[in-house]
Amino acid sequence: MADAIDKSMRDADTDRSDGTSTELDAASNGVGAIPDSPSDDTPASRNSVSDEDPGRYFRTWFWMILVAGYGLFLVFGSVEAHYWVRNSYVERGTNVLDVWRAQVNGLPDVAHQTVLKTVFLISAFGFIGLAVVALWLASVVVRPDLSARVNDVDGTDDSARRPSPAAG
């Protein structure tokens, strides 16, 4: 599988290096292909695109709103917690943080409690940190990547797999 992902990365490299693929500019209303524009985000293309890409400004704001909203929800938010107390179903407003504190205090009663607690806390905070990074990569850095390709006629042409010059 590592080989296959490696291949997928090489495909991306190929897209970048041969200059044959095209990409719809994220900021150009998606109506025109720009021949020979960088199709993926190499460091160089990322820098140049970030300077010229007005959409990035709005996407950054979008990301900031998502992250701020999520952060505020975690710190100040409250939810209707659903649970059972002595065979009766309870729905009670509870702070998000209080719920997670209860989880930290209720970790499984097995060996190596300190290690378990440390692992859980690292995972919980790691989840939040990585979520922020993943949102950045998904919404700000990652842009549409449309490599135009020649359609095959009889459905048997394997060239469909390979990026080919833009049809326009």
Partner: protein
Amino acid sequence: MAELVEQPNAVSGPVQDHSARRSWIASASPAALRTRLNVRSWSAVHQFLVVLCVLYLVKQVIFVLAFPAFTGHDEVAHYAQIRFIATEGNLPTIPDLSDWRAEFAENRESTTEDRIPDELYRYCQYVTNDWYRGCDVPSYLLNPPRAVTFAGEGFPSGWIYTANHPPLYYAMMVPIYLLTDGASPATQLYVFRFAAIPFGLITVLLSFLMVRAIFPSDRFLSVVVPTFVAFQTQVSYEGAMLNNDIVGIATYSLVLYLMVLAIRDRFPRKLCIYIGLALGMALLTKGTALTAVGLVGLAAILRLGIRDVRGLAWRAVAIGAPLVLLAAPWYAFLYSTYGNFSALEQIQELQYWNYQNQESPGFFDLLFNVQFAENRFMETWGWFGWRLIPLSSTLLWAIGLPMLVCLVGLGQYAATVIRGRGAPENDPVERPENWQKLAILMMLIACVVAYLAIIQFGTEFSLTQARYYFPVVNAIAILLGLGLRSLIPMRFHPYGQGGVLAAMILLNTIIFTQYVIPYWELTT
């Protein structure tokens, strides 16, 4: 596998082998490796994939630890099966009811069926009714029930009801059992749960590879599809518990991925052999993988054409030989032990509680039963364990409505593709090649077959569940992703990607904060 991807067209010749070897040597040089390991040089999609995988791993740690020991569906029975194999050195079997009754008539205290260890009876409320649920009674805790009487007839209680499951998962877990032999069952259980995480990760990676195989350059799908799979709550739950389901999901996903490659490359020989091996592994993990055999066969016929009898024949041999080689011993064992290939007849006899107060429903009764579909949807997102934690209907609608919108988008996409006009010239997703159309069609068929299979199972067993269609989660993700993609204008795709990821993160956070943690931690 890389070789398969790079040389998909035919059987590799010597020249291609040499060039592949040279390319491998070049890519393995220190300089090339340094470049490869430089994260900044990766494309944004691959950077995202790596972050998503790490995010998945930490999320799974939370899943593992948030659920108390043995509360997952069948964890007690699976643990018993692993212990049985590790200590007895052979597979447990399902008791034959008439033999058991004869034995029980002679000695009510010591029947010899393969049983779940008595020390696990304290978790009896998380087991099916195959072990009488009396663990709140102190005397039963000291001496767990071995039999029950129903309608004047005796039935065994506490038998290992997972004994008809194929052995691959248990064989992989036995070394872990032996390594942790000195620990308590609960500690061992958490180790087993952690051992499930890699299989979930493999499923996420396969979803990425599959969507890259069908649409190599589309970033929207490359982000959205693995995101959906990584954050689907019940698939994540399967990937954080002691259960063979997640291995079944991973192996089935591998079959689907290889099938897509084979559709693209017209079923070359090497790929057929790999498909056979993957099918064999899938069948050695979970019996539900049988549907994948039919899917692969149908894909080959549709891709090659029914008239190419010779081509179909040698491909059937290339796929069938490794498949039979791997799976035949298990099916031979089933037949020699039970006289059939599933042992479901024996289980049906033993489960006196199955459709106890009603007649078994017919296939079409379940197909058009709205309540049945609603329950499966609930099981797809909530009801963790044996239907323990229900989600509110508001939340289910909040999940279901966007999915319905995606299905509308899928319909719109299908209409555009079938019409063959109206799609942007330079959008390869909206203008798929014939093989891509077939790959998408096969994803759709896989989903339909998976749902029909749980309906068929439900005509005989009341405990049919949504998790039996989780093996097609990657296909579901691709179809929903395609639907969503067709509804979002191109320039808004980055917002769509971020929105889907944010929604899935929030959904997981809410389900845990509002339902899972309160259910276990606030109750007392």
